[in-house]
């Protein structure tokens, strides 16, 4: 079983964004100008924005609680893979700003990440239901499943830090 093709989710939306207007001279019938009609850029994909925010939350949590670096880095890397699948560039990923956890203690900080993952899994599932192409549905289903699996993984992390916070 192969993972979904990269960027399948956004390609359709961007491909429809530009309109070519071709003018022909009367003598040669060759195009004498190609103009690209200015179009409104497509709105940012909420799934991509959410993935970038999730990565920021993980980076922020790792900075605040370096002892969680192992598992959290692994999950953050999976979100980077999701973001790439949704069309993120390496520049997008490099520009991510850490989002510090609002909790001062490690346990509630992990709980925050669990809530974010649940919300992300729900959003990706809803988007899979609304997606128009089979490739998009498949990609979003894989991502929704991966994010759902982060919840029990983070619960294990939270159990491991119980009593240390």
């Amino acid at each position: 079983m192969l993972p979904p093709t990269r960027r399948v989710v956004l390609l359709g939306g961007f491909a429809a964004g530009a309109t070519l207007i071709v003018g022909c001279s009367s003598s040669s019938e060759q195009p004498d100008a190609i103009e690209i009609e200015p179009t409104t850029p497509p709105p940012p994909d909420p799934n991509l924005l959410d993935e970038l925010a999730l990565i920021g939350a993980y980076v922020g949590a790792i900075e605040a609680f370096p002892e969680l670096r192992g598992t959290l880095t692994t999950i953050a890397d999976q979100h980077r893979a999701h973001a790439r699948e949704l069309g993120a560039t390496e520049a997008d990923l490099t520009a991510i700003t850490p989002i510090p956890p609002s909790a001062a203690n490690v346990r509630p900080a992990v709980t925050e990440l669990i809530k974010r993952e649940r919300s992300a899994a729900d959003l990706r599932a809803e988007s899979a239901l609304a997606a128009e192409t089979g490739e998009s549905v498949r990609a979003l289903t894989f991502i929704a499943a991966s994010e759902a699996s982060h919840v029990p993984e983070l619960r294990d992390v939270r159990r491991g830090v119980q009593g240390r916070s």
């Binding site: 079983m1 893979a81 239901l129 549905v137 498949r138 289903t141 894989f142 499943a145 991966s146 699996s149």
Partner: protein, 138 residues
């Protein structure tokens, strides 16, 4: 809805076969597991049989695959450890099966497939697998 398009029927048949195999593997695993692990494996037999019934209702009766007499999991089950590893691997493989079904169905049937993929990925981690960006069971 009853699907008759061969491509869609094929993805649903694949889901049924994978679920039948998972039920069989849960039975073997249950014999090796103890305590909570055994209880979970037994509970999952009923849960996945229920899924098979839902899937079977989506296609014509003649298209429903018969339950095979036996199944050899890719990770052989001969201990509690291998039982957990095998059930985790089979659950991750189910994610891809349900993703394929989601891509070829619509509405409530697609929602069922997406929920099946999410549940399978969660269960894989609960059996001890590490999460994956794109769970495939490989």
């Amino acid at each position: 809805m009853t699907y008759t398009d061969p491509a869609v029927v094929s993805t649903i048949q694949n889901a049924i076969r994978s679920e039948q195999n998972y039920v069989y593997a849960c039975g073997i695993a249950g014999a090796e597991l103890k305590g909570g692990g055994r209880r979970r494996a037994v509970a999952q037999i009923a849960e996945h049989q229920q899924r098979i019934q839902v899937l079977a209702a989506l296609i014509q009766e003649d298209d429903v695959p018969t339950t095979p007499p036996a199944f050899s999991p890719p990770i052989a089950i001969d201990s509690a450890r291998s039982a957990r590893a095998s059930l985790a691997q089979l659950n991750n493989a189910l994610v891809g099966v349900y993703a394929d079904m989601a891509a070829s169905t619509e509405g409530a049937d697609r929602a069922f497939a997406v929920a099946g993929a999410q549940s399978s990925a969660r269960t894989a981690v609960q059996w001890g697998a590490a999460s994956q960006a794109f769970p495939t069971g490989e």
